[in-house]
């Protein structure tokens, strides 16, 4: 049979049973749409988590103090107060492939300004801090190396602190008091939002770590050292160099520090999101199978129902292959039409989720191919297989079929 003619026959058959055609296509549409939406949301969540990890800064190595034991009592990690600003300075001076180092000391404190007060995190940092954390200054400048050396009473504040203490005012040049000491605000950090633990990162005041140690907290040790490596592939070597240097500086004493790269933290975070993506993919897989069974049922029922039609066509002079080609074209048309609509539905649904959640939703091409391929294969197989059985009947048997 000429292809166009058989195409016309198949189109007529689909139009003739528009309800059945719609139902079959619907199975495919739902299956494909569900898979694409699920996987897109999963991917979006993953990229969201990765973006949050990235807000920590690029290629960061963190040195934490180790544990200590005193009179049989052992503190946990971070318990020892053994990191010093000199450790940070040594790292900056001696380790290669380091772009920035910041000695970090953290304390919560009540601060006053403008007749208002606010309890916030006061961090002692080095001037490298904004670069390390990938956190630009929105207004003003970061304090300088000179401020660190001179124990300068200068501060850079986060957006939340600015909103709380200087509402409707330009905070630059204003004075705030920490432990009753006046600090001049020289810079305002850009809004960074919440970190992975849900803490407001903008609720912060940065001052030089020397000022923090001498004037504010009166401590001789620092909490952590932030190190920025120059590139991701050198991170492991920088980490080892830092460990070696610090061990050397302790002259054979038990190492009282821990060095972690950001990759380790990031790996943990992405592992979580990978689990979630897997979960969503599993749900999507189930919906695909359910959709497939739906397609199968409709196809099986409709071909059985159409045995008489096949009988008429055979009696009138159709070859078995004509009937088969017709059913194959019908199945392919339905599957591809349903597939395309399913893809559109999936992308639209992903888009809606993205719009309502403010969440990046990434449509993955592989999920599109798998979903469409599977549905089409199911549709075509179960459209074709029973039709083949019917086309092999004697016309008279097919005609007598009720």
């Amino acid at each position: 049979m000429r292809f166009t003619t058989i195409f016309v026959v198949a189109l007529r058959a689909l139009r003739r049973n528009s309800m059945r055609s719609i139902l079959t296509a619907l199975g495919i549409i739902i299956g494909v749409g569900a898979v694409i939406t699920m996987v897109s949301i999963g991917n979006g969540a993953k990229s969201q988590i990765e973006a949050q990890v990235a807000t920590l800064g690029q290629n960061i190595i963190t040195v934490f103090p180790g544990s200590f034991s005193q009179g049989g009592m052992r503190s946990g990690f971070g318990g020892a107060l053994t990191l010093t600003p000199e450790d940070a300075e040594a790292i900056a001076a001696e380790v290669a492939d380091v772009d920035g180092v910041s000695a970090e000391i953290t304390e919560r404190s009540q601060i006053l300004a403008n007749g208002l007060n606010w309890n916030t995190t006061v961090k002692g940092e080095s001037p490298d801090y904004p670069a390390i954390r990938n956190w630009p200054i929105a207004q003003g400048t970061m304090f300088s190396e000179q401020d660190v050396k001179s124990l300068g009473k200068v501060a850079v504040i986060g957006k939340t602190v600015a909103d709380q203490l200087f509402p409707n005012e330009d905070p630059i040049g204003q004075t705030l008091r920490i432990r009753n000491l006046p600090f001049r605000v020289v810079g305002l950090l850009e809004t960074k939002g919440f970190d992975m633990r849900g803490q407001d990162q903008d609720d912060v005041v940065l001052i030089p770590y020397t000022s923090h140690m001498r004037r504010v907290s009166r401590r001789t040790n620092i909490n952590t050292i932030l190190i920025q490596g120059s590139s991701p592939d050198k991170l492991d070597r920088v980490k080892m160099d830092v460990e070696d240097l610090l061990t050397q500086r302790r002259r054979g004493r038990e190492p009282d520090f821990t060095v972690r790269t950001q990759e380790e933290i990031a790996t943990m975070a992405t592992a979580t999101s990978s689990t979630m993506t897997l979960l969503l993919a599993a749900i999507a897989g189930v919906s695909l199978i359910v959709g497939g069974i739906g397609i199968m049922n409709i196809m099986l029922v409709s071909v059985t129902e159409r045995t008489r039609e096949i009988g008429i066509r055979l009696a009138i002079g159709a070859h078995g292959s004509d009937v088969l080609t017709q059913f194959l074209i019908e199945a392919i048309l339905l599957s591809s039409l349903g597939g395309v609509m399913g893809v559109c539905l999936g992308i639209a649904a992903s888009e809606i989720v993205s719009q309502t959640n403010g969440w990046p939703v990434l449509v993955s091409p592989s999920s599109v191919f798998i979903a469409v391929g599977f549905s089409a294969a199911v549709g075509v197989f179960f459209g074709f297989y029973p039709a083949r059985k019917a086309a092999r009947l004697d016309p008279i048997e097919a005609l007598r079929f009720e």
């Binding site: 166009t4 003619t5 026959v9 007529r12 003739r16 066509r313 009696a315 159709a318 005609l399």
Partner: protein
């Protein structure tokens, strides 16, 4: 001239049940071009089985069958399909039209298969319209089978059977599902076609329907027991006039107040 249908010692045995059923037990028959034959018999006489073998829908167990000089024994499934498509036209008792398909598209159906498949859609459409015109349904070409009466559906089926200009028109109880007046209308269509030279073989169990044909074959227990020309042949157009008059009269009698 060689007969269109030539059957010699045809047998059909069904083996499907516990006991083999010998439905046709040696029928020999010649049907020439232009004949109008009625195959008659009680149920189980083998007339439908014989009809199915004549229509190449079923193969004989034994015996030979030549259709238009072609020995069907040597043909495979597809060649049989082509033969049905080109040399035979079918009219079934249950019409067997495709549901939810317009009259025109139903008539086009045979042209979508076999050697006519190379025709363009416009030629196919034109020929289908012509055949619908022959059976008087050109105006209703876009109606679906469920919008047509039984008689009209059967006329669509006849148009479909005619569309490939077959050698023989085979009708299996074409009036079985119709009332008497519509039956006469359908017989009128057959007589008109037969007058134009088309060979028709028809199965029926109604004697009055058989008397519209030219030749009656009676089957009993799988063999032909009588084969005779019709003596008092009825003419459908005369009968329709008579029925029309009777109906008019009945209406007058039944509704005197009107």
């Amino acid at each position: 001239m060689a007969p269109v249908v030539q059957i010699r010692e045809l047998h059909k045995i069904y083996e499907s049940g516990e006991v083999p059923v010998h439905a046709v037990r040696g029928v020999s028959l010649d049907i020439h071009k232009g004949e109008f034959v009625a195959l008659m018999g009680a149920s189980g006489s083998g007339k439908s089985t014989l009809m199915n073998m004549l229509g190449c829908l079923d193969r004989p167990t034994r015996g030979s069958y030549k259709l238009d000089g072609i020995d069907i024994e040597k043909l495979d499934r597809n060649e049989l399909a082509d033969l049905r498509n080109q040399k035979l036209g079918f009219v079934f008792q249950g019409f067997n039209l495709l549901a939810r398909t317009t009259a025109l598209e139903n008539v086009e159906l045979p042209m979508l298969y076999g050697r006519h498949r190379r025709l363009g859609m416009d030629v196919i459409r034109e020929r289908a319209m012509h055949c619908l015109d022959i059976v008087g349904l050109a105006k209703r070409h876009d109606h679906f089978p469920n919008q047509l009466s039984g008689g009209q559906q059967q006329r669509v089926a006849i148009a479909r059977a005619l569309v490939n200009e077959p050698q023989v028109l085979l009708a299996d109880e074409p009036t079985g599902n119709l009332d008497s007046k519509t039956s006469v209308e359908v017989m009128g269509v057959f007589q008109k076609l037969n007058d134009e030279g088309i060979t028709i073989v028809m199965v029926t169990h109604e004697l009055d329907i058989a008397s519209y044909t030219k030749r009656n074959l009676i089957l009993r227990d799988g063999v032909v027991v009588r084969d005779e020309a019709v003596q008092n042949r009825l003419i459908a157009s005369h009968e329709l006039l008579r029925i029309g008059e009777a109906e008019t009269a009945a209406k007058l009698v039944n509704s005197p107040s009107a």
